[in-house]
């Protein structure tokens, strides 16, 4: 009888430990071992004070070991703090390219005006190509893409090309 009782209580301790381990290591959460509470007859037997004391000792040891394992080392705490600080700084500091994109750059506005004027006159001349190409290098990537797409759209829609070769230099 005592052996059966000991086994049942060991199972309880083991399942509790597994649940503790799963929740402390980030493993998929599992429900606490409530099912063990519904275990058959042996679990309902009242343990003797000695057995309770022994089992409490075992659980204390396991809990102490688990807590020791879970407690962050000073090094990892420092690393975590550094990572958090870096993440916060990164979130606050805008990306230079994005910052510039908050307002179109003057060179982008100028290039788009040039492109619109070319569309209005219905032709893309060598002079247009040279002028706009010279401005592309001073824009952000997004602005450059937009200007190039604008010209491509217009050329594909029938704007005349006054030269042979690429639309930009």
């Amino acid at each position: 009888m005592k052996t059966a009782l000991a086994c049942a209580l060991c199972a309880l301790v083991g399942a509790g430990g597994a649940w503790w381990f799963a929740s402390s290591t980030g493993a998929p959460k599992v429900d606490p071992p409530v099912a063990v509470r519904d275990a058959p007859a042996p679990a309902r037997t009242v343990p003797t004070p000695t057995e309770v004391a022994v089992l409490r000792g075992i659980m204390r040891e396991e809990l102490a070991a688990a807590l020791k394992e879970q407690a962050p080392s000073p090094m990892s705490a420092a690393s975590a703090s550094a990572a958090l600080a870096a993440a916060a700084a990164s979130a606050q500091a805008p990306d230079p390219d994005e910052e510039r994109n908050l307002e179109p750059s003057p060179v982008f506005v100028q290039a788009q005006a040039q492109v619109q004027a070319s569309i209005a006159k219905g032709k893309w001349t060598e002079q247009d190509r040279e002028q706009v190409s010279g401005e592309l290098g001073r824009m952000t990537q997004k602005e450059r893409d937009e200007v190039m797409r604008s010209v491509s759209r217009a050329l594909n829609a029938g704007m005349r090309v006054d030269f042979a070769g690429p639309p930009f230099l």
């Binding site: 592309l136 450059r144 893409d145 491509s152 070769g165």
Partner: protein
Amino acid sequence: MLGASLLATGVALAGSSSNQQVVVGTTGGLLYAKGTFRPVRNSADSTQYIGCSIYAYDSGSRSIACYATDAVGNYRNCSTSDPGMVQVAASLNPASYLYFVVNADGSCNRVISVNASYNL
């Protein structure tokens, strides 16, 4: 000996050969252009051409513009900074066949190159 050598050279040039001139059209509602560099360059007309230009900037970004004109002067082009398509443009060489499709906004939908002996 010289005759045999010339004969051998002649045989070496007798492989399969592409004669893909610049063609522009639509596919799936999108404009496209295609052509093989060698026959386009050697075509009888002085109008058609096809190719891509690569633009690199000190910010580290790169863009391409692909363009083509067929024998009767129809012009097609697209541009993109997509790294994959930039890489395809960088692979073009005298043995290339180039095919590009244009999105409605003027960007490149896809850029395809075939580098093969029959294109030489």
